[in-house]
Amino acid sequence: MMRIPFAAMLGLFFTGVYFFMAIFAGWIAPYGMAEVVGDSWEPWSWAHPLGTDSIGRDLLSRMIWGGQTTIFVATMGTILSFTLGSVLGFIAAVRGGWIDQLLSRLVDLMMSIPSLISALVVLSVMPVTLPILIIVMGVLDATRVFRLSRAVAVDITVMDYVEAARLRGEKQLWIIFREILPNALSPLIAEMGLRFIFMVLFISTLSFLGLGVQPPMADWGGIVKENKDAIVYGVPAALVPAFAIASLAISVNLVADWVLNRTTSLKGGRG
């Protein structure tokens, strides 16, 4: 029986709670997402445990629905960026030559523009819907994943066992998925935790700037934006989503750290 360290346990617990609330938001949230139930910025009470927001919607319900959007967009974005980035990175490493050059220089080009700026430019001319958001964020973030997975895979492709597989006549795909991927997994998993957090921050930033999730849909960045004026009046409504973002970030990182520790000590695999 493996022992889970306390920090990882804590991370697992909070990550679990957030994901649970996101998945079952429809059952858990006491009110609808855009339902106006009271005055603006009501204080915390039994009816509204976190008070109400700028136009009198229940903040707890908004948080839960918003968490669903934020976590959904971040998760899909991470999955997209990992699939795209790691597959292209591995292909670049395995094939080398002009394919590697083309992909790597393209990624350099994309990385030379700050990703927030490229996202803002693209989103200002495209209709801002969830799929578009996910694609824009996923593609922009895939450049980082590409860099990492290519660097890791380049180290692995020169190993004798990869050469042995090539000499056996194995196909590219077998080499990528059976020889390279299992050995590249631990740095990639650590990166995945980190990337997920950046995704949460990214979508929150976009929403805060008004180019992310569009009202009346809720998401944490958007809730901060809607309630930022409340801080002037001493109402903590904007701090609640900020706290949620921070605690989710820390929890996921604690889990990612633990997974990294476990996979690197697994049967003498590479570090």
Binding site: M2, R3, M159, D160, Y161, E163, A164, R166, L167, R168, G169, E170, R178, E179, P182, N183, S265, K267, G268, G269, R270
Partner: protein
Amino acid sequence: MSDVLLEVKDLKIEATAYPPGEPPQDITIVEGVSFAVDKGKVLGLIGESGAGKSTIGLSAMAYGRGGVRITGGEVMVNGRDILQIGSAGLRGLRGKEVTYVAQSAAAAFNPAKKLMEQVIEATLHHKLMTKEEAEARAISLFDQLGLPKPETIGNRYPHQVSGGQLQRVMTAMALCPKPDLVIFDEPTTALDVTTQIDVLAAIKKAIRDTGVSALYITHDLAVVAQIADDIMVLQSGQMVEYGTTDHIINSPTEEYTQALVSVRSVKHVEQTSGAPVLSVNGITARYKGTKFDVLKDVTVDLPEGQTLAIVGESGSGKSTLARVITGLLPPSDGEILFDGRTLAPDFEKRTRDDLREIQMIYQMADTAMNPRQTIGTIIGRPLEFYFGLRGAEKRKRVQELLDDIEMGEGFIDRYPAELSGGQKQRVCIARALAAKPRMIICDEVTSALDPLVAAGILKLLLNLQKRENVAYLFITHDLATVRAIADSIAVMYQGRVVRYGNKTEVLSPPFDDYTDLLLSSVPEMELGWLERTIANRKMEAAGN
């Protein structure tokens, strides 16, 4: 005062292991080791990897590498116990009374500083001489060690001298502060055999001239026999046998020592050549983007079911030849014939059956197996890939192969990291055999292994050859291995085959110059070999 310089009594060395998922535990690395070195004498410490020989050697300067702790016993240097003198005392000892020569000189030098600066650094630090005196002494040591241009070589940077020269410069560095004791930790292991003999002779002469005592650590009994007065044989941190060199080499009493002495006893009766399974015809090859031919007009034949040994030092092109044959490096000229038909130069253009017929075993078994696959997967994959075996049938065949390599039950679900070095190499052999090839390229397959383990692998390869009638292209720099298993030999030097023929033919005079140099450089397990060889060479040089 007696003339005992170093006396170690009942040494005990421990380290802490951190097994995953369990609390840390102390493990004993060395226990109950005692020895003494007189002034001007050399003690050889010999054993396989993990025997604790380097750890014991470093204890003579009270140093434990990588968390290793000396927890018991006494280490007396010049009559005082250095385990009790504290860190200030040790600073005065290290680099002054006791110095150290590391295995890999290339890694031990600072590439950004000139050699002279590094050679005299410890001497100046301890304020033993003025800078001018130290430099003068370094130059005289360079001269003693037979380095070219002793006056100016100190002005060079480490990358501007060869590996053998660098090792001699490091010896000069160790001898410069006029120490009482020098620890030589495998100083010639990383060198080519033709370079090793020069360095060995230089070290021996320097030891004799300066009257210093030395601990000489190595895994090669033939090397230590040339240089040591006494030898201590170690196995897993315990002393096995301790005596004079003459006693250890000529009349060892312990079984383990006897095995070490007779380790090169694998014998193979040479076969006369038959029809070639592989013919290499006039191959010339260069690496992409370079203008230098690594292989020049190489032509050799590998007869069916026999062994062709490719011998040469590093950089002679022997591994490149393997890359050309496997198709990893298409040649710029010449062709490879397999079974009479021409093979495609690029392996990607070869048929699956062509690929199956030529298998490869690598030098480093560690990197030749995917650490995330079980032994069953590693050996099973060629079975599945070439013969379509699956499920229980595949597992049964894998077990048969494991039996063939003398590993038996219980390994099939293990990971490579759970095997010893020799076992890993055996699994690689099984993976090659699984494809039922007609020939296997063995690239330095025993170089990374301890002598006893290597002998076991060679015996296994010979047995399998008899049974499966598979041909080996055996690439090695070790002539003892060649003597043991080859039917025919090709000697390579700077990309050319300088000598090629049956084993007896190649290994009998008259020799060409290079083969003569190569053959005479292999240390023999007898006393006085080094002096005899050097004397012979001097006579020949005088004769010319």
